[in-house]
Symmetry: C2
Subunit: 442 residues, 2 copies
């Protein structure tokens, strides 16, 4: 098929099937156990079945009236997630949103409204200059959110991270004081539980102490690392998350729920509703014959909201909490295996020292011809081009896929992540062999 | 199944199947031809198959690298939609977003950025007090967007609508001048093509003239009515849409594409990218081996973005433009049939005069015992309670479902809409009989 255009006349059903086959053929095989390119990988069969059922039901989360079961399942699941976070009796609020960036934006919106409720009616002109704080390794959605919400990216103050990518609490406190001195009002700190590149977990307890001291909203962006709280072996990395005012947690990443499935959990009940509701009585009739507290549509930024809950709920039923735990533990075991395998191997250099905290393993591969180069600058320059070429070759051969990027003054390095429970030790071995095969001549 | 809780241990596969059956059993049958409750109804088999394929591909629209086919299909489809809008050679920009509310929010965000690009870095404190304008019948997402973006709901100025729900251009001009006098800067006008309740089309040409005169961004919220542009018979209702700076158009409504599928179309190329991009080089590597203009992720507010395009594209291939036209024309024919049937029928009163412009038919049903009541206030009071009771009974019997709401000083009335191509004349007849059966004793 080399014609993708849309025409006036219908195609035949045969043509439609050909289009479907071509679409699948040229699609990236994200479920392949050697696809390590993104934080969301794999394909869970129960999750897929649940997504198919969701499509078939073809409704949205707007009101209890049009999605009674899904609304209840969202309620049950959010409560369970809050219990796991450690909030008393699972109390609080939350929503499934279209991805972690929007979940983070919700958190910032709520923090602003909590401190200055008049902003809803009067806008930012009624509010002093605000300041938000997040580490230099945090996700770009914090800045995106600030730009959209009219706060401005310059009001997002970057906190230094240590060598392994964790926010330095002392720098946070220093920058909060600095901002206050300049007349800004600190309103929002976003700590990251599992950074995108290094997989670092910010020290939540120390950060929460600072937030408490300065009365700033404490958000934890656990889009990537939040799921580790389901593992008895790894949950200590999130110690302090129970003190958060809000938590982003994306089951579509480390829990391998089909895309999309992102939750924002909020400690204070009723705040989302107050912040976002517009009382549109033509949409949310107040004289219906059921308990209107189930009509959650007005607490969302969206009007109709896609049903993202059923695949998570059904997978949870099928695996149990221990099933998620086992698959998370396995991915972390694989990444430790990778780390142990390459940390002293010839031709590899780790981007930072120490065992990975998440499944992220960041490393340079130095082709044989570059290993003993004396000119450091020239070596750096050449090394910067290695990962892009190896990756391009991976994609041409179609054997595996892994991400690379620069970070600060560090030239391009590979970032391996594992979130697909179907990945095996052999797949890790293959990756190493493939990098060496494709990179040896560079 | 009366246990929806999530447990530590897995359930059996049998239990999972029982849960699926129960979920479908208690779900609202949104594809039923007598489900008239929402603007999104029906279930297209090609669309469903496409959504299943999308779930199976389990990727997102983040980069060309992870969704090459879907990114190209989105490009092709947005271009086609812009051609249909009437923009030269289909030029411009656009995105599929998580629903009409977010599409409208994007439009407002772009309008603000276009006028005051420094808002991205400096926030609203660098910008004068802004004013947005939309009709009193417009969708609540305009206010929601203003609240979220830090503009404030008080900066959304409601323009009067005429008796049939259309914005009155003279009132728009008056309120723009008034706002300017008060020191506000008018930056955004949202005209509605197909209001939620009345289905009214604002007079786009007259509104666009005013926008041009005062140099204000002209947005058309065609979430509901935009699709009528695909009908040669009905497209005149959107005359002037080609002058818009941005258009919201939800194929998941009148084109019966499975949820969710909402497009924002933007006239100016590059603006979305400039407005939203954050240049996160760890997400959007600049040294990849393909044309980076296909990496559209950074123009979105989201990071990963759900694949909403394939179902629309595949349905379009399967039906052709003429297929969508036929199903839209059919729904409008059915609503005209309903209108003609009840406009002079005993016990019915139309909420506004004249043929419906969209498929919305708004009416009161007066049970026999209320028809000759003399006390107007008492009659109004009782009439207000009729629609909620009839609807509750519809839901208990499970026979049909239709929306009702008050509007301004008008008490609860039924709002019929038809967007399901499977609906027939018999279904309309049934609805009337059912309202009378369930309401006769009230």
């Amino acid at each position: 098929v080399n014609n993708w255009e849309l025409q006036d006349e219908p195609e035949t059903l045969d043509d439609i099937l050909i289009s479907c086959r071509a679409t699948l053929k040229y699609a990236i095989k994200t479920a392949h156990p050697r696809y390590f390119n993104q934080l969301s990988t794999g394909l869970d069969m129960v999750g897929l079945a649940a997504d198919w059922l969701t499509s078939t039901a073809n409704t949205n989360m707007f009101t209890y009236e049009v999605a009674p079961v899904f609304v209840l399942l969202e309620y049950v699941t959010l409560k369970k997630m809050r219990e796991i976070i450690g909030w008393e009796d699972g109390r609080g609020d939350g929503i499934f949103s279209p991805g972690g960036a929007i979940s983070n934006m919700y958190a910032m919106l709520l923090a602003r409204f909590k401190m200055f409720p008049e902003v809803k009616e009067k806008g930012m002109s009624s509010v002093p200059r605000l300041a938000a704080f997040t580490s230099e390794h945090s996700h770009f959605s914090i800045k995106k959110g600030a730009a959209a919400l009219g706060i401005g990216t310059e009001s997002v103050i970057c906190i230094k991270a240590d060598e392994s990518g964790k926010m330095i609490p002392a720098d946070l406190e220093r920058k909060i004081l600095e901002a206050k001195q300049k007349g800004f009002v600190p309103f929002f700190v976003s700590a990251t539980a599992g950074t995108t590149v290094y997989g670092a977990f910010d020290p939540l307890i120390a950060i929460s102490d600072i937030c408490k001291k300065y009365q700033v909203w404490f958000h934890v962006d656990g889009a990537w690392g939040g799921s580790l709280i389901m593992s008895r072996m790894h949950k200590w990395k999130l110690d302090g998350v129970e003190r958060a005012n809000s938590v982003t947690w994306n089951p579509h990443k480390m829990m391998a729920v089909p895309l999309q499935c992102s939750a924002l959990l909020v400690r204070e009940e009723g705040l989302m509703q107050n912040c976002n509701q517009m009382h549109a009585c033509y949409l949310f009739q107040q004289d219906k014959h059921y308990d209107l507290s189930y009509d959650t549509g007005d607490k969302a930024l969206q009007c109709g909201r896609h049903v993202d809950i059923f695949k998570l709920w059904l997978m949870w039923r099928a695996k149990g909490t221990i099933g998620f735990e086992a698959q998370i533990d396995k991915c972390l075991e694989l990444s430790e295996y990778l780390y142990n395998k390459i940390k002293d191997r010839e031709g590899y250099e780790m981007v930072f020292n120490g065992k990975p905290q998440h499944t992220n393993v960041c490393f340079w591969y130095l082709p044989p011809g570059m290993r003993y180069m004396e000119d450091k600058e020239e070596k750096k320059k050449r090394l910067h081009k290695v990962a892009p070429v190896i990756k391009a070759r991976m994609m041409e051969y179609g054997t595996t896929m892994v991400s690379y990027q620069p970070q600060g003054d560090k030239v391009n390095f590979f970032r391996m992540v594992i979130s697909n429970p179907a990945a095996t030790f052999e797949d890790i071995d293959f990756l190493i062999e493939e990098i060496e095969r494709l990179g040896q001549d560079l």
